[in-house]
């Protein structure tokens, strides 16, 4: 899992405003990193969770970057 991010379907995120994105990031951080580890038959390992989170970070940033580019174009 060197590159944990697949291209993101932007439609799923296009309705979210910036505040929602920030809270998404905060939420993902909370949900993915923590909680009682109780051994199920399948439990995501801690290392995986870090990778997922880094991947999601990239996703959220890429959405932000796309927005930024669009805004600039509009201004020109």
């Amino acid at each position: 899992m060197n590159n944990p991010v697949n291209p993101v379907n932007p439609e799923i995120l296009s309705n979210w405003d910036e505040e929602a994105e920030l809270s998404l990031l905060e939420t993902l951080d909370h949900v993915l990193n923590r909680g009682l580890v109780i051994a199920g038959e399948i439990t995501i390992s801690v290392a995986d969770i870090d990778l997922i989170f880094v991947g999601l970070n990239v996703m959220v940033s890429s959405v932000e970057t796309a927005r930024e580019v669009l805004r600039r174009r509009e201004m020109e």
Partner: protein, 273 residues
């Protein structure tokens, strides 16, 4: 279709679970499936069936590489958790805890009942609040001679010294500024941690996985606190924010969260199958 596996969200008391019938709960992690309680004596686990084809070890790892897939599941997990903890004390489990058989969940509930009941009791009436500390470096740099006790003292000395000496002290102040900015950030962050710990039952410093720079500055520290009595906690946070505003410090409160960060003390990694 083969028999489903079970995704486990959290554990609560059976009595509380009875007050939260499945039909009143939010959407499950997978479309078309419903949440249900698996009850063993005094404890109940909130679960929903998930397809084994997707949630076996290999396939799940692949799906987790898909950021959109994971983001949607994480948000659903959180929505379920928020609904439950608003209404009762519950132990949040880590995202992605899967049991292949219902039996396994029942066994876990009965084998770990005393430990789980203890956690539920500890969490009753508590909320988790996140505190993010941002520092605007430019603001801090421009006010550093007032913020840093060391530099403040030197400024006073320079004011009383002869022009020659004053010039030399000023040179020294300029040379120390960058180090003092760093030291001041650490000192202020430590003070915030200490004071908010005093207003809560427990506090933890979290890792910063992403260096975040916002219009309010750079994220310098991230904390989670176990809070009973939010008003006092918020007042303390507001007071700290005011005290350090001139230093370019901004506090951001997030929450209330399910108590994700204060249930990790009892993990043992035991396999229960």
């Amino acid at each position: 279709m083969s028999a489903p596996a079970f995704y486990v969200y959290c554990i609560a008391e059976s009595a509380a679970a009875a007050e939260l019938p499945a039909a009143s709960l939010p959407a499950a992690i997978e479309d078309g499936s419903k949440l249900e309680w698996v009850v063993v004596d005094a404890l109940a686990a909130l679960v929903s069936p998930v397809p084994r084809e997707t949630y076996n070890e290999e396939s799940l790892t692949e799906h987790l590489n898909d950021a959109t897939w994971t983001a949607i599941r994480a948000m659903r997990h959180e929505t379920v958790m928020e609904h439950v903890v608003k209404r009762t004390s519950a132990v949040p489990l880590r995202f992605g805890t899967i049991y292949l058989e219902r039996d396994g969940i029942e066994r876990m509930l009965s084998e770990r009942s005393s430990e789980l009941e203890e956690i539920i009791e500890k969490l009753r009436g508590r909320e988790e609040w996140g505190v993010n500390v941002y520092v605007d470096r430019a603001v801090l740099m421009s006010s550093i001679t007032a913020v840093s006790p060391v530099l403040r003292e030197m400024v006073e000395r320079a004011a009383q010294a002869s022009p020659g000496q004053s010039y030399l002290i000023q040179k020294k102040i300029d040379a120390l500024k960058v180090d003092e900015v760093r030291a001041s950030v650490n000192r202020i962050v430590d003070e915030i941690e200490e004071k908010l710990k005093a207003q809560s039952e427990d506090g933890k410093r979290l890792r910063i996985l992403k260096v975040e720079t916002t219009e309010h500055g750079e994220l310098k520290a991230k904390f989670a606190f176990l809070v009973k009595g939010f008003d006092e906690f918020r007042d303390a946070a507001e007071q700290l924010a005011q005290e350090h505003q001139a230093a370019g410090v901004r506090l951001e409160l997030t929450g209330p969260w399910p108590v994700y960060n204060f249930v990790t003390g009892l993990q043992d990694g035991r396999k229960l199958t």
